[in-house]
């Protein structure tokens, strides 16, 4: 019959489905035999961890939404209802609340991996750009989620962040009114943030699907940053990386559990245990920890519009990173200078985070300005120049040659990599 897929699946029921809708063939191709570089280190677990984290957030979020009330007079009490009266409501909520922090920890490490090993370089530019879109969507989702408990920091955080848009001339105030659904952060704001907070994860899922689809076209980068040249360089995704990811997921869940069960509020702000009060501003308005570096960039510029532009710019610059980095060598392992500068970038990011935590006074102003300067200089000045000035170390011939220490890579075990490659 024309158009039907010729399936290799032996189970008759699955075969019947697969013939008409080849999802099992696709799964086998993309997650079974998918040829994956054999030299991944544990940094390559974090994509899978982010996926697990997304599922945890959606699963807990759905049940939280069943018990939540997006109304300014009820929201704070609804959270207490969840914490005290709903069966295991405290568990759902603490998992969701700390899950947001875990998500950012995982994604920041995932991004660092991409930066260190040059995963954004050709042919993976679009893959990287989709990743930056995911980061932006995540930030928007996390921000709106933090507003929902309607505590003091929810309210004042929402006020400060939405007010940023008022810095833009002409359209700024109109954008802010639109975000608020009125003339201050109030019930319409909470309503729309709840609606969008529920919507965004599904948009996020869509973009993540594209991110993964793009990954499966180019294939993964690897710690050497060199292309896969032969079947000897790869292993089938299953069982090699399914087992490695399983181990990674266990370690990740242990860290997650330590937060949820023993320090559930250590990353939060005590002010958010006080119901939102538009008439009383807290002494310091601090965003959640994962926004602190960007908050510090915002505050390091004396001009509001410039500050807002720099803050957004710090993410926007990532979109053009594949073209700012002029070096053809991907992995920092073979870039003696880049390998030092990338750590300066990490340090500047951490310093910015620390400055964001403190009042913008004295030393913190100077520190955050220096760190902001370095952050932008790294992308806009150092990376374009480095590609021209740096003398990269010699690249290994192939992944298999490198991992077997120049012994030429012995024959692969039966059924490991060679066979799947024939299919692919």
């Amino acid at each position: 019959m024309a158009g039907l897929h010729k399936s290799d699946i032996s189970n008759p029921v699955l075969n019947w489905i697969d013939t008409r809708l080849p999802i099992f063939t696709m799964l086998q191709k993309e997650y079974g035999v998918f040829p994956t570089p054999k030299n991944f280190n544990y940094f390559w677990n974090f994509g899978a961890l982010a996926m697990v984290n997304l599922l945890v957030m959606i699963a807990t979020g759905i049940f939280l939404a069943m018990n939540y009330q997006p109304n300014t007079t009820l929201a704070f009490g609804a959270i207490q209802h969840i914490m005290r009266d709903v069966n295991y409501g405290w568990l759902l909520r603490y998992v969701h609340q700390n899950g947001a922090s875990m998500f950012f920890i995982v994604v920041y490490i995932h991004i660092f991996r991409g930066l260190y090993y040059g995963s954004y370089k050709t042919p993976r530019e679009l893959l990287w750009i989709l990743g930056v879109v995911i980061l932006l969507l995540m930030m928007a989702t996390a921000f709106m989620g933090y507003v929902l408990p309607w505590g003091q920091m929810s309210y004042w955080g929402a006020t400060v962040i939405t007010n940023l848009f008022s810095a833009f001339p002409w359209i700024g105030p109109k954008i802010v009114t639109l975000l608020w659904g009125g003339f201050s952060v109030d019930n319409p704001t909470l309503n729309r943030f709840f609606s969008l907070h529920y919507l965004m994860p599904f948009v996020l899922t869509g973009v993540i699907f594209l991110h993964v689809a793009a990954l499966h076209v180019t294939g993964s980068n690897n710690p050497l940053g060199i292309d896969v040249k032969s079947p000897q360089d790869t292993l089938p995704f299953h069982p090699y990386y399914t087992t490695k990811d399983s181990f990674g997921v266990c370690i990740y869940l242990i860290v997650f559990s330590i937060f949820v069960f023993f320090f559930p509020n250590v990353l939060g702000d005590p002010n958010n245990f006080i119901p939102a009060n538009p008439l009383q501003t807290p002494a310091d308005i601090v965003p959640e920890w994962y926004f602190l570096p960007f908050y510090a960039i915002l505050r390091s510029v004396p001009n509001k519009l410039m500050g807002v532009c720099m803050m957004f710019g710090s993410i926007m610059v990532l979109f053009v990173l594949p073209w700012l980095d002029t070096s053809p060598v991907r992995s920092a392992r073979f870039r003696p200078l880049y390998r030092k500068f990338i750590w300066l970038l990490v340090i500047s990011f951490v310093v910015l985070g620390y400055c964001g935590m403190n009042k913008p006074e004295g030393i913190f102003v100077i520190l955050s300005r220096l760190a902001t300067l370095y952050y932008f200089a790294h992308f806009l000045v150092i990376l374009p120049l480095l590609g021209k000035l740096e003398r990269p170390l010699p690249l290994p011939e192939s992944i298999s040659q490198a991992v077997t220490g120049g012994r030429g890579g012995g024959p692969l075990p039966a059924g490991a990599a060679a066979k799947p490659m024939e299919k692919a």
Partner: protein, 254 residues
């Protein structure tokens, strides 16, 4: 944020040596030992029950605890009969009668803790313009948590010479700005204890803070116990998955 902040601050202060120069006038909080503090700590139920008595007799005259229900008191070890008795002693609004008039009656275990004032305006009017905060979450809602609340309760001293006090305010060495609207709520012997427990200010404060810490985190004991079981399970799973991974990778040069 405090733990994280002080942790990171410590790391940075060591490296930068400049942080101390910018430290603000820091209030030193008392460092009490709390039954619920440690990794496996639970609530000292006897202390929490004494603390509830103090709440009933002292705090509840001004402070609400609107997110608690009388049934929740099972969490500090009160029996069903005790809870019924505690609730029945309180008169709460019970909606409308058949003629549409507001009705009142004895509370049941399902009722919320009765609030001392009908609304915030009434609370302010009765308290010299200050609003006594709801205590359901007070331990979580202040930097310093239990030690801070304990510090406020035991921090009433005479103002230093030359300190300008506003009308109707009280000096407290821990409260931000040192002027607190709440008059000293507890003193030695404020509440009668049975069973030979000393009812001095320190013990009373310790007990009521234990009660308030329970009220803010009633899930704490169950949470920690579940955490121990889940983390032990995950450590086991980590060993298993690592062994599987090793086995799978054993025949690959990598």
């Amino acid at each position: 944020m405090l733990k994280l902040r002080s942790l990171i601050a410590g790391v940075f202060a060591a490296g930068l040596l400049i942080a101390p120069a910018f430290a603000e006038e820091e209030v030193v909080l008392p460092k009490e030992t709390w039954s619920f503090d440690s990794l496996f700590g639970t609530f000292d139920l006897a202390a929490a029950q004494r603390g509830f008595t103090i709440y009933q007799q002292v705090c509840s005259n001004c402070h609400s605890m609107q997110y608690l229900h009388y049934r929740d008191l099972a969490g500090i070890g009160l029996s069903e009969e005790q809870i019924k008795a505690v609730a029945a002693a309180v008169t709460v609004p019970q909606g409308l009668d058949d003629q549409g008039n507001p009705k009142e009656g004895p509370a049941t275990p399902a009722d919320q803790f009765r609030s001392p004032f009908a609304n915030p305006q009434a609370a302010r009017a009765a308290n010299n313009g200050a609003l006594p905060p709801d205590l359901s979450l007070i331990v979580n809602a202040r930097e310093g948590h239990a030690n801070y609340i304990y510090g406020v309760l035991t921090g009433y001293v005479n103002p230093p010479a030359g300190f300008k006090m506003q009308d109707g305010m009280n000096y407290n060495k821990v409260y931000p700005g040192h002027q607190i609207a709440m008059p000293q709520p507890l003193r030695d012997g404020s509440v009668d204890y049975v069973g030979g427990v000393t009812n001095d200010l320190a013990q009373e404060s310790h007990d009521v803070v234990t009660f308030l810490a329970w009220a803010a985190n009633p899930e704490l004991v169950e949470r920690k116990q579940m955490g121990v079981r889940i983390i032990l399970f995950l450590i086991g799973m980590a060993f298993v998955t690592y062994a599987v991974k090793r086995k799978v990778w054993a025949n690959v040069e990598h």
